[in-house]
Amino acid sequence: MDNIGIVFSITLMYATPLIFAALGGIISERSGVTNIGIEGMMTIGAFAGAAVGYFTANPWIGFACAAAAGGALSALHAIACVKFHANQIISGVALNLIGLGVSLFLSRLLFDGVTQTLPVPNKLPKLVENGPGGLNLDSTVLVVLIFIIGVWFFLYKSRGGLRLIAVGEHPAAADTLGVNVFRVRFLAVIVSGLFAGMGGAARTLAVVSSFSPIVISGHGYIALAAVIFGRWNPVGASLACLLFGFAQSLVVVLGGGDIAIPSQILAMLPYILTIVVLVLLRGKTNAPKASGIPYIKGQR
């Protein structure tokens, strides 16, 4: 019984940063721009959050700067993909390198030549600390919940969201109806960077308290997998992130106990499960039709 609180806490602790990044991925992909640079944007957000949080001693300022840093990096992606019709995956690969490179470079510059920042004096506050059954909840859980509802409402219930979806499905049609495809995509990519940056900071300001090169290692890619797993829907993607988090919590909880499943095998489960689910869906994934294709005016 003791473990339920712990499982719940670890699941949310691990899933929250992923959900931020996945929401960003949804916005970008729904507008028709593939963004595998999310990993780099999470990394730079994680660094900016930890560094600003350290120097200002205010985690919320750090959190806001993390979003700004992710947004700034994603502006490069937006310029490449929307303005220059670049190969979106190649641009994403470049941004992952730049995001990691800039973070480590600045870390060595500001923190005495090491790639690990000093711990922030104040982490983001907890909603629940040492509650019943070892329950611990970060305030980022509440923030992300608001954003999930917000993104859902925006996508399906607002005019802007419907335009965004139209641009991702059939940009030429949206264009003829007077929607500015370039502007919608540009903004969508920037917003995805803001979210990814917050996701990074959700790790360095809530889960741990400092940045290091391994704090974001593959989280951005997993968030993207969650986007596809969740069929480009904010609620679905969030559930997929929770699944990854749940598996992670099982590794922690069962790994220490005397159940005879090796922790490495448990750790594989969410990844295997993702493939199995995608096989069962047989590609019926509702991918935005124009995702990954640059829009060139006058071309059908």
Partner: protein
């Protein structure tokens, strides 16, 4: 008679890549300046860190071997329109199988080495074929299945290392591959008394390059693979089919090419080459074993950069692999000599790739301009 104009010259891919590299270094210099370092000193340190001793260049070559191969691996999938982001996991598969076959089976030298790399390539190739199968049969996007398999393989390798027959007691690593499977250059000299004396007696820097590094035959194998893949696409029907599927799958299908089969074949070849990279690390480089990993080592992602800087060509990947390896190996000298973070090279490489990504527009603009110029010339 056609005259080559500056514009035509600018459209050559190699020129674009060299320009991207130059701009990449310029951006790196600006970043260094802003951070208060002297870019001239930093790049000087980079240059000396690579070329001042044969030993350093030997290290560059050794470190370039796996990324040249993961680069070629990426190229193969890319030619068929597939994005193999799974070289990382396929590399782990190759290394793991090489360590198992290298340590558990006893065979004569050379034969043992061949068996090890073939086993590793088959295992990794099967992983790649699975990705291709999932894509062609169930429409599972290869990027997603590759990301998943990267992690599955990492955990599988970590799990295998805990097994009593494979774990080296008291370490977080597997047992070493037997010497009969090694591909180290002049291994007999290095391991025998007389050989060591002979080498230690000479103070030539070349002896140092041989003696104090893990110089191995891997780089030769990488070059052979590059040439083999080049010929596959250039001279064979199979290669033509694999490329056709990448250029236009619908047209390929109409021409009677099995698109599904080509996807599986392409992914299998691509993955087998990444597996070879892992195997050659085990046979060629100390400590000839696999260790517990907490995160990916980055050979697969480096391979993507290598392939893109190499202009998407297998032969180009040899040069870009060595170039990439120079930057990452030399970055340590930047840090020790000037104090600037070696990660400046990640930024430089990132900028180069970013420019390569947007270079298509520049070519498009040049084409449009020359088309206009051509029309004007005709009308005039």
């Amino acid at each position: 008679m056609t005259k080559t104009t500056v514009r035509d010259w600018l459209k050559k891919p190699i020129v674009g890549i060299l320009l991207a590299i130059a701009i990449g270094f310029a951006v790196g210099a600006i970043v260094l300046l802003i951070a208060g370092y002297n870019p001239g000193e930093a790049y000087g340190a980079l240059f000396r860190g690579v070329f001042s001793k044969p030993k350093y260049f030997a290290q560059v070559t050794i470190k370039s071997t796996p990324i040249i191969l993961t680069g070629i691996s990426f190229v193969v999938a890319f030619k068929s329109g597939l994005f193999n982001i799974g070289s990382e996991g396929q590399y782990i598969t190759g290394a793991l199988v090489a360590a198992i076959v290298g340590s558990q089976i006893n065979l004569p030298p050379v034969i043992h080495f061949i068996v090890v790399i073939l086993a590793a390539m088959v295992a990794a190739g099967l992983v790649g074929a699975l990705v291709g199968f999932l894509k062609s049969r169930f429409h599972v996007h290869e990027v997603i299945s590759c990301v998943m398999i990267n992690w599955i393989m990492l955990y599988l390798s970590n799990y295998m290392i805990t097994l009593p027959w494979f774990k080296k007691a008291g370490t977080e690593a597997s047992v070493e591959a037997l010497e009969s499977s090694w591909s180290v250059v002049a291994n007999n000299w290095k391991t025998s008394e007389e050989g060591l004396q002979q080498l230690a007696g000479s103070d030539s820097p070349w002896a140092e390059a041989l003696l104090k590094t893990d110089l191995n035959y891997g780089i030769l194998i990488a070059v052979i693979v590059a040439i083999g893949i080049y010929l596959l696409y250039k001279n064979t029907v199979k290669g033509y089919e694999l490329r056709a599927v990448g250029i236009n799958p619908h047209a390929a299908k109409l021409a009677g090419i099995s698109v599904d089969k080509s996807i599986v074949t392409s992914m299998a070849i691509s993955a087998a080459i990444a597996g070879l990279a892992g195997a050659l690390t085990i046979t060629g480089v100390m400590p000839h074993r696999v260790t517990q990993l907490s995160m990916h080592e980055g050979y697969g992602f480096a391979g993507i950069s290598v392939a893109l800087i190499g202009g998407g060509s297998p032969i180009g990947s040899i040069f870009s692999g060595i170039f990439y390896s120079m930057l990452t190996y030399g970055s340590a000298s930047i840090q020790s000599e000037t104090g600037a973070a070696g990660e400046i090279m990640d930024i430089v490489i990132g900028v180069i790739i970013y420019l390569i990504a947007i270079s298509s527009l520049i070519i498009m603009l040049l084409n449009r301009k020359s088309a206009k110029a051509g029309k004007a010339a005709k009308n005039g």
